[in-house]
Subunit: 146 residues, 2 copies
DNA sequence: TGTTGACTTAGAGTTAACTTTAAGTGTTAA
DNA sequence: TTAACACTTAAAGTTAACTCTAAGTCAACA
């Protein structure tokens, strides 16, 4: 079972334009062509797009992804490089998650802040003693999580 | 204690250029100017930049952030809007985290995949029965987490 | 047999968020 | 007081990752 660029694009949620762009950037060296030059994609190519998507959506640039793809094309000699590539990338993703958790706390604080103000009908509630106390408690709770 | 644009930029890890750009985009309507037109920033302005940074680094565009800032300038009448703004944004950040967790699993699988190949000295280890079994186990483990 | 639609290429345009440049004014330290 | 530096504005340039256009080829259907 093979796919034309249009069919394959649908299968991985991209446009034919984007796939051609990726190929031009060297991300799809595994794509085959018919005698008349038409690209055809096969079932295992989907896995390539899955990993490209994974790397792309975790903040990796096309150039960096290309480095990995190139290593893949070189076979067993690059196993160690590829291993370290993922070890390093994992660290970056962990860092992103840590950041997101931090921001989520900030957002939760804001939700509490506006919910309290909403109930009171005014933001000035946050100048009262009771609220300042609670606010400190919240902030301390946040600090603990870091 | 007030700061010039250069001092303030350092304090929040931005350049004066970027701060001027943000002001032009309407993100800093709270910034004051001296009689001669020079901007000066004060201590509480840092909290504004903290929240701008939080929203920016969780994928919000400058235009969307501006909507929030404008609401802030309007006082108590926009409390509910701001509350819902953060409720909605929280959902988006949760979604990002869920995605990241999914990608992290993919990366962990790849680490296992290359580590196994590294120990064997060849990628062809992944065509052996023993390895295929383990691979299935890993994939099932991943599936459970989703 | 013509037209619709998918494909090809090269290259130009878009968007967001800066980032730099140019040309000039104002402030501070030796 | 003069050099260095921080500031001003308007506008152009940069970068990544698409996204689209133009001009053309090719295959299938009414």
């Amino acid at each position: 079972m093979t796919y034309t660029i249009g069919e394959f694009a649908k299968k991985c949620g991209l446009t034919p334009h984007t796939l051609r762009f990726y190929e031009k950037e060297g991300l799809l060296p595994f794509v085959h062509r018919s005698a008349s030059g038409i690209r055809f994609f096969s079932e295992p190519d989907i896995e390539w797009l899955v990993i490209i998507n994974c790397l792309k959506n975790t903040g990796m640039s096309i150039k960096e992804i290309k480095v990995f793809i190139d290593w893949c094309m070189q076979g067993d000699t690059t196993i160690e490089k590829r291993y370290h590539f993922f070890i390093e990338h994992r660290k970056k993703v962990e860092k992103q998650m840590k950041e997101l958790r931090k921001y989520l706390k900030k957002i939760d604080y804001k939700i509490w802040y506006y919910q309290t103000a909403l109930e009171a009908g005014t933001l000035s509630i946050h100048q009262t003693q009771k609220c300042i106390k609670e606010e400190k408690r919240q902030l301390l709770k946040d600090a603990h999580g870091n």
